[in-house]
Amino acid sequence: MTAIKKLFLVDDDKVFTFLTTRIIAKNNLVEQVKVFGNGLDILNFIAENIHDVASLPEIILLDLNMPIMDGWQFLERYIDLLPKIDKEIKIYVLSSSIFPEDIDKAKTIQAVSDYIIKPLTGDKLINILRKNS
């Protein structure tokens, strides 16, 4: 299993991002974790660095329920950007919702690799990274 260079965590819940970043760091499998508070922030980041492949992540963990731009709205706009991105980015929806409609809806979106119900445990993280290598 090779280490992941960059992983972006998109969530407005500060307690959650703090704890999750801690779990990821403990596993020593990801070189860098970057946190974004809402969909718009990460969207702007990707748009700005679209040609700088090194600065783009291999994995995005995306919350759905966020202010300003939520996860769904981000995905809509991200798909528009996709043709211009010269890097394979895996997006995992990471949500507290166990609502089946949310899970089904996420799985219909091509850009979404999987739907993970919070919390993100060490086992779940290893699973993601295994698939990714």
């Binding site: 819940d13 307690v15 329920n65 202010p67 507290s96 919702s97």
Partner: protein, 904 residues
């Protein structure tokens, strides 16, 4: 053997007959004054007995007929002989009817003359039919009168024969004296030898060898002498199987001519016998020639000397004191053709002695002048040598003209009768000729046989119309036939059924007219029969169809009433809209007041739905899709209802819409229920979302924090995590409370509305926000003039004002001084509040419908919680109202609240 006793009718029976008879009966006394009229008479003239007696009734005779009647009556009364006369008599309705009046003298038991008894019959009907042939007959009569001919009409099949007065006069009788007449009358008076000839000639004519029957025959005169008649005739009608039926002809008295020729012959014999008596004989000859308009001549072959009689000079127009005109002059008397024939015949007679008889055409200066009959023969001596020629000539111009005219007239009659025959046999209608007294069918055409399902042979002379008629239909026909036979009607029309031998019923339309044929005095009538069975059947089917349609219409009516359906029918082209009563009720309109067209319907639509419904109608008309739409309408009283409409479009053959027929149903109740259900459903989904995201998120955090707490050995770390745990639990509690609050609003059905002065409530709220307003120096502008009060729960009004005003302050732009405008107005009877700010604004492309959802925030503002708008939306919608927003980032937002005071 026992015989029936022969009893005369008794007086009572006679009286009954007289009273009830259809015949008009009168009596006059021995002074010729009228003293009795029966009831039928009085009913006919419509006058009282007092008016009629004496000579009173004669006032009603047509003025033109009066003199003739009066003379005839007086004359016959004087000689006490029966009379028969036709005149016009005024009926009670003022119409003159032709009457045949027959009167006869009567005597009492002692044989003493008591007066006249008579009866009248209305013959207008037959008069009218006669009228059609009258001209023809007048024409013929004129000709016949001119030639002083007797006439005869002979029905060869029955032997019935009708003669005119002149026919009888020729043999010295009156017509009355030889009546009743038949063909036997002719055979009785005809010379037996000539009867044979006549029969032979008739046969030839019947077989077609001769165009005309023509015979010279002797008849016994009343005085015992033989008179010569020239009989001519022609068959005018044939039976279907080619037998002669009716023959018309004339008799001309040619005795004088015959006698003249005879006398001439005798005198010439005498001349030859006695030269001495020549002078006397010549005188006689002259005399006889004068009588017969007969000229004679003699040619002495030896000397070529010609002698003309006095009459011949006269005939040819020469002076009798001069010798006969020379050959060249004589020639000019004839047409070239006639002269050639005459010359040839003369030469032949002169050479061979064969006599000649010719009809020559006379001419004067090249023009036709007339006809002459000539006869010539040779005169032989004792050695049988021809010594002379002699001849007679008679001017027959007039007779020839008469014959010619007669021929034309007869051909005309012939043509008419032939045309009738063709029409009769080939007509698409059934036609029969029926004996009126027996009802027996005498003649029929093939179509009739077909209609009645029998052969012509079975029918003709065997079947009467009654026996093939449906029993139920006989009476009406019978009754009308009585009227026809009485002459009260000219004809009639009836619909009835025939029964075929196989039992089938045939519906027919029968037109009946009485006919009287010339030479046939038996009453008969013509029936024209049209087969209307199929028409009747389709009528029946139509009737059934109609009944069925009516029944289904009734069912439809009941069903539509039960379903409370309004029915409408819109004539697309005429824009004519028909509503049933229910439609008017559904739309809250007064049936009397409303102009019924599409505009009426459209005027009831809820403004927001108008375009959609019009489009749906348009789509139905163009055929894109059927009309099936739910739309809102507004009653004149402002109440709003949901209507569901279905419609069908009827089209012409080209597919153009003609009519649109549909039903409308009030679905307000179910629609409202549906809306409630929809909103409850939505709330349930919202609730699930809240649970999934807003409640589960803090729980996840708690779970994770508890986990790290358990595994942490560092006190520092433990303090950090438990601090975070506290804040998460606080957050969870907050969300939980909000959730409960929102659920409470929805369940708070008992909340009381009250009349609220908006300005008062706003002032209170502004007071509580005073420190924030002052801090940012916000400008609050208020305009509640258009709607200053509202019926609403006080708590909700406060909540709406507090949230909207505090939001406006919270999300103000730091670039400019905040201006917050609050305004009310009335739209469709409802109060609408607008709160406009010049703040940060919201990107509506991102916010969409989420702006009013719980825990949705759109600004990175520390105080943004995403609960206020969710709260007031829940409250407004709980009352049946609506809240929406218009916004542009960097410019500001406008929130609109439509208040409804009715709890849904």
């Amino acid at each position: 053997m026992r015989e029936f006793e022969h009893n005369e009718l008794n007086l009572e029976e006679l009286n009954t007959i007289i009273k009830q008879s259809n015949t008009l009966i009168w009596r006059s006394n021995n002074k010729g004054l009228f003293d009795y009229f029966n009831t039928t008479w009085l009913q006919f003239t419509g006058r009282s007995i007092e008016q009629e007696i004496g000579n009173g009734w004669t006032e009603n005779i047509h003025p033109e007929d009066y003199n003739n009647y009066h003379e005839t009556y007086l004359e016959h009364f004087r000689i006490r002989k029966p009379f028969e006369i036709e005149y016009r008599l005024k009926r009670e309705d003022g119409v003159y009817r032709w009457m045949l009046d027959k009167g006869a003298p009567f005597v009492d038991t002692d044989g003493e003359f008591k007066g006249f008894l008579g009866f009248c019959v209305d013959i207008t009907k037959s008069k009218k039919i006669e009228g059609k042939l009258e001209k023809e007959q007048e024409y013929l009569a004129g000709i016949l009168q001119g030639t002083n001919s007797g006439t005869w009409e002979w029905n060869i099949q029955t032997g019935e024969t009708v003669f005119n007065e002149r026919w009888a006069n020729i043999i010295g009788y009156t017509l009355e004296e030889i009546s009743p007449t038949s063909i036997d009358t002719w055979t009785k008076y005809c010379h037996p030898d000539d009867l044979e000839t006549s029969k032979e000639l008739l046969e030839k004519h019947f077989y077609g060898d001769l165009d005309y029957y023509e015979v010279e025959a002797r008849m016994r005169h009343k005085n015992g002498e033989w008179v010569w008649v020239l009989g001519r005739g022609r068959v005018m009608a044939w039976t279907k199987d080619g037998q002669p039926l009716l023959m018309l002809g004339t008799h001309q008295d040619i005795t004088e001519r015959k006698h003249a020729i005879e006398k001439l012959r005798k005198s010439e014999i005498r001349l030859r016998q006695s030269k001495e008596k020549a002078e006397q004989i010549a005188g006689e000859l002259e005399e006889s020639q004068k009588i017969a308009h007969l000229g004679s001549w003699y040619l002495d072959v030896a000397t070529n000397e010609v002698i003309w009689s006095e009459e011949l000079y006269k005939m040819y127009g020469f002076d009798s004191s001069l010798p006969p005109p020379p050959y060249t002059e004589h020639m000019k008397l004839f047409t070239a053709e006639s002269w050639n024939i005459l010359s040839e015949e003369l030469a032949k007679t002169r050479d061979t002695g064969i006599p000649y008889e010719l009809v020559l055409e006379m001419a004067k200066e090249g023009k036709h002048k007339g006809w002459v009959w000539v006869k010539g023969e040779a005169v032989f001596n004792n050695h049988n040598e021809i010594v002379g020629l002699r001849g007679v000539a008679q001017d027959i111009t007039r007779r020839k003209q008469m014959d010619l005219q007669l021929k034309v007239a007869k051909e005309k009659v012939d043509f008419i009768s032939k045309r009738f025959q063709i029409m009769f046999h080939q007509a698409p209608l059934g036609m029969i000729l029926v004996d009126s007294s027996t009802g027996i069918i005498r003649e029929l055409n093939p179509k009739f046989a077909k209609i009645t399902g029998r052969t012509a042979k079975e029918i003709q002379h065997h079947i009467d119309w009654v026996s093939i008629t449906h029993p139920d239909d006989i009476q009406e026909d019978w009754d009308k036939m009585k009227l026809l036979n009485n002459g009260e009607i000219d004809g009639f029309n009836i619909q009835k059924r025939y029964i075929r031998p196989n039992g089938e019923e045939v519906w027919v339309n029968v037109t009946i007219a009485s006919v009287e044929e010339i030479g046939n005095r038996r009453k008969q009538h013509l029936r024209m029969i049209e087969d209307i069975t199929s028409k009747k059947q389709s009528e029946k089917a139509l009737l059934k169809e109609k009944e069925r349609a009516e029944a289904s219409e009734n069912r439809l009516l009941i069903a539509s009433q039960a379903a409370q359906l309004g029915i409408w029918d819109w004539d697309v082209e005429e824009d004519y809209l028909v509503w049933d009563d229910r439609m008017y009720k559904l739309f809250g309109q007064n049936p009397q007041k409303i102009k019924t067209n599409y505009e009426l319907w459209e005027s009831c639509f809820y403004p927001e739905d108008k375009e959609r419904v019009n489009q749906a109608i348009e789509d139905a008309l163009t055929g894109i899709k059927d009309f099936d739409t739910v739309f809102r309408i507004i009653h004149p009283d402002g109440n709003q209802f949901y209507i569901r409409g279905h419609a069908l479009v009827l089209r012409d053959q080209q597919g153009n819409p003609l009519r649109m027929i549909g039903v409308n149903k009030d679905v307000t109740e179910s629609k409202t229920r549906e809306l409630i259900l929809e909103s409850q459903n939505r709330q349930l989904i919202d609730f699930s979302n809240i649970v999934a995201h807003n409640l589960r998120a803090p729980l996840v955090n708690i779970e994770m924090l508890v986990d790290v707490l358990e595994n942490s050995n560092s006190v520092e770390e433990q303090q950090l995590f438990s601090g975070q745990l506290k804040s998460v639990v606080y957050h969870l509690n907050e969300v939980f409370n909000e959730l409960i609050e929102s659920v409470q609003i929805r369940q708070d059905t008992e909340i009381q509305s009250e009349t609220i002065v908006l300005k008062d409530r706003l002032d209170r709220i502004l007071g509580s926000l005073q420190s924030q307003i002052n801090a940012c120096q916000a400008d609050i502008q208020i305009d509640f003039d258009k709607a200053s009060t509202i019926l609403y729960p006080k708590k909700y009004v406060d909540s709406i004002f507090a949230n909207l005003v505090s939001n406006a302050i919270k999300y103000r732009s730091l670039d400019r001084k905040p201006i917050i405008k609050l305004k009310t107005e009335k739209v469709n009877g409802l109060v609408v509040l607008t709160v406009t700010d010049n703040g940060l604004g919201i990107d509506m492309s991102l916010a969409k419908d989420k702006i009013f959802k719980i825990r949705k925030v759109f600004h990175n503002h520390p105080e943004a919680k995403g609960f206020g708008l969710f709260m007031i939306k829940t409250q407004i919608e709980a009352m049946g109202g609506k809240i929406w927003v218009e916004s542009a980032p960097g410019k500001g937002s406008s929130f609109f609240v439509k208040f409804k005071s009715r709890k849904v």
